[in-house]
Amino acid sequence: QKEVEQDPGPLSVPEGAIVSLNCTYSNSAFQYFMWYRQYSRKGPELLMYTYSSGNKEDGRFTAQVDKSSKYISLFIRDSQPSDSATYLCAMSVSSGGSYIPTFGRGTSLIVHP
């Protein structure tokens, strides 16, 4: 079993839909939870970062962490075609000031007009 599980999709939705992306994990030591967006042929870009359980909102994006269930989610409201990308969840522990994230395999999102 991988430490971080993420459905690769693809997930195809119409423009304006609410998108839900999810990851599960097995390592209860993970403290930091992140979502990255990766466009084709580009490096990942940090979207959201959370530390505690609960919700964190940033514009159209909401990150949710449930440590008791070892489950994290990213919600995208009013999705746009420009949101079409691969979304990677990542999580890490703090080790001597170093935070090395463990990534999921990414979910491919397609938002069609």
Binding site: G43, F103, G106
Partner: protein, 110 residues
């Protein structure tokens, strides 16, 4: 402010050859991490450099080595290339928990 830069953008090598990839971190960042991303997979951590020393290493063989220079730029070297080394190699400039990725170098081994 320039972000993380990597060179070259892509290259093609033959099995058994050696390759060197280069990375310059964001201004003010002193920690550089390298990742390998196979097609359809998430990035896999190779190693991290801080103050010119390898601080942490992932589960990669000794064929993968690196270096960090006094100006914080870094190199990734891979010896005795295998077909399975074909991937996108990402450099990340690190500030505590945040990783800022470069565009990557696409390596194809034939």
């Amino acid at each position: 402010d320039a972000g993380v830069t990597q060179s070259p953008t892509h290259l093609i090598k033959t099995r058994g050859q050696q390759v060197t990839l280069r990375c310059s971190p964001k201004s003010g960042h002193d920690t550089v991490s390298w990742y390998q991303q196979a097609l359809g997979q998430g990035p896999q951590f190779i190693f991290q450099y801080y103050e010119e020393e390898e601080r942490q290493r992932g589960n990669f063989p000794d064929r993968f080595s690196g270096h960090q220079f006094p100006n914080y730029s870094s190199e990734l070297n891979v010896n005795a290339l295998l077909l399975g080394d074909s991937a996108l190699y990402l450099c990340a400039s690190t500030s505590s928990y945040e990783q800022y990725f470069g565009p990557g170098t696409r390596l194809t081994v034939t």
